[in-house]
């Protein structure tokens, strides 16, 4: 077969969809990634329902726990998962190679965001299914703002993950994103509400993306209300981290 020289690019939406699908499959095939994305959040959810940690907050343990677990899922996939995989893709020259194909840098980033959203959707389905079995009764008015908040949280954490992945060595990205996942997961106001944290942590978590996302999701799913302060904090983190990543991301 003698191919004719010269090709046209596939349309942009198709390129982004293909990259999103490819990265989604790669994330789901990664065992460590699955533990972080699904197993640990589920264990944390069960843990919070069998211990009295969340008692006395005006709602059942499971109702307080689940919104925070969903927020934790967003942090797992967007920040730690995407950060680590992007860091190593950068090390191996995958980002540079793909940016020379019709996909380009914009398509590559769009594909990554798409993959984060696809994996997050699967996480939400799994967590919701298990949570409903454990007796979760979310406010029906919470679903719409809740899902929108998850997308916004994923945007903020993806921007932060790409900022780390694009500026330090992949080994450092691995250490930083895993350490922050544990620290923010335990003390960042994401699954444990601010009022149950040490006084020092309580003062700052409202300004962290973890605390803002956790609190906003609890307000949505517990009371069907929208926490505008937390939304603003998340928007600010997305803008700052996104701008910084655009400015300082090193492709090689």
């Amino acid at each position: 077969m003698t191919p004719v020289l010269g090709s046209a690019p596939a349309p942009l939406p198709r390129r982004i969809l293909l990259q999103g699908k490819y990265e989604t499959v790669a994330m789901l095939r990664n065992g460590e990634q699955l533990i972080l994305a699904v197993v640990l959040p589920l264990l944390a959810m069960v843990g919070l329902t069998v211990t009295p940690l969340l008692d006395g907050l005006g709602a059942s343990r499971i109702d307080v726990a689940v919104p925070g677990i969903l927020a934790l899922c967003a942090m797992s996939t967007a920040f730690t998962g995407q950060g680590i995989s992007t860091g190593f893709d950068r090390r191996y020259g995958v980002l540079r190679f793909l940016s020379t194909t019709p996909l380009g840098r914009t398509g590559l980033v769009a594909g990554k965001i798409l993959a984060v959203l696809a994996v997050l959707l699967l996480q939400v389905l799994v967590v919701t299914a298990v949570a409903l079995m454990l007796g979760w009764r979310p406010d029906p008015l919470g679903w719409l703002p809740g899902l929108a908040l998850l997308v916004l949280g994923a945007a903020a954490f993806t921007a932060l993950g790409l900022l780390v992945a694009g500026t330090v060595r992949p080994e450092a990205t691995l250490a930083i994103t895993n350490l922050l996942w544990i620290l923010l997961g335990a003390l960042g106001g994401i699954v444990i509400p601010a009022e149950r944290l040490p006084a020092l942590a309580e003062a700052v978590v409202h300004f962290l993306p973890s605390g803002a996302l956790g609190q906003a999701l609890r307000d949505a799913f517990l009371h069907g209300s929208i926490n505008t302060g937390a939304v603003l904090v998340l928007l600010l983190w997305t803008a700052i981290a996104g701008g910084a990543a655009t400015r300082w991301f090193k492709w090689n």
Partner: protein, 322 residues
């Protein structure tokens, strides 16, 4: 042998500074300075130079992977810094480090990249042509260097490009892979593809290139076809003659004083292994063989070597280690 057709790549006065570097007290380092070159359709153009000469930086500026400091670059008539997907679809790139995800398997990876193009090279044909079918189920991280290079070449070709960039294409290639890759490159050239490759191996340039740019310390110091470069320093009227080396092996400790002209350097590098280098004439060869005959010496081996591209390269870029 530059064709009048518009070139696929034209670089003029390229300058690239990197830094500021802490190793240079925070100063910038000029890795490419005033480099110009032209690459034609249907030709293999080689950038030949030592490691660190600025070859990779030059082609990465042409690929849009690095921003140039000054100068102009026209790739298929467009500026690579501002061009979009339509230009990228016409250009294939094989990076020095491959740029393939370690966990990927060859066939799904190639099919994925093929999807980025309207009209890709059929993946089945490509994997057969490059012998990828023999390791199609092995993840990239488990491939040998040669297998990885072949896959990286396939990934660069899957879009069926008009221009192909190859950064050190023979790195890590075993003889069989080399044969396969070089054969395909020649065929693509004959089909009209414009191929630009970097190499520090004279042999690659000598075997593949239609036109060679010798790059040293960030700029081009010589250019021409391989034949033209081999004639380097043999300008008409310069009085210079072609340097050749006569190599032979015989009994150790022979004294050649007076056999050859003084300008011919005779050395015994190892015991019994002789090299006579200079502007050898047929008469010189006759003198040597007559001298052997008179003494009953039968060499165990003998050969005559012309100047190689390596000699030219070393003459031009200096013999000091960089």
């Amino acid at each position: 042998m530059r064709s009048p057709e518009s070139p696929v790549l034209s670089i003029s006065g390229l300058v690239k500074d990197v830094g500021p570097l802490p190793t240079l007290d925070g100063k910038m380092l000029r890795v490419v300075s005033d480099l110009s070159l032209v690459a034609e359709r249907g030709q293999v153009t080689a950038l030949l130079g030592a490691n660190g000469a600025g070859k990779t930086t030059t082609i990465e500026c042409a690929q849009g992977l690095q921003r140039r400091t000054a100068g102009s670059i026209s790739l298929l008539g467009q500026d690579p810094d501002t061009a979009g997907a339509a230009l990228r679809a016409r250009v294939g790139v094989m990076l020095q480090d491959g740029g393939l995800p370690p966990s990927a398997r060859p066939v799904p990876l190639l099919k994925h990249i093929a999807g980025m193009y309207q009209d890709p090279w059929p993946v089945e044909d490509l994997i057969r042509r490059l012998g990828i079918d023999t390791f199609s189920r092995t993840s990239v991280r488990r491939l040998s260097g040669g297998q990885r290079q072949r896959l990286a070449l396939a990934a660069a070709l899957v879009g069926n490009p008009e221009v192909l960039f190859l950064d050190e294409p023979s790195a890590g290639l075993d003889p069989q892979s080399r044969q396969m890759v070089f054969g395909l490159i020649s065929e693509l050239r004959d089909r009209g593809m414009g191929i630009i490759l970097t190499t520090h191996l004279m042999d690659d340039a000598q075997r593949l290139a239609d036109y060679v740019y010798i790059i040293d310390a960030g700029h081009n110091v010589a250019e021409g076809t391989v034949a033209q470069l081999l004639q380097h320093e043999l300008q008409p009227g310069s009085g210079q003659q072609r340097v050749r080396t006569l190599l032979f092996e015989a009994e150790p400790g022979l004294d050649f004083t007076g056999v050859l002209p003084d300008a011919v350097r005779v050395s015994e590098a190892r015991a019994g292994s002789y090299a006579a280098t200079g502007a050898l004439t047929p008469a010189d060869l006759a003198a040597v063989t007559a001298w052997w005959a008179a003494r009953g010496i039968m060499p165990t081996s003998m050969s005559l070597e012309a100047r190689s591209l390596e000699d030219v390269f070393l003459d031009i870029s200096g013999r000091e280690i960089r």
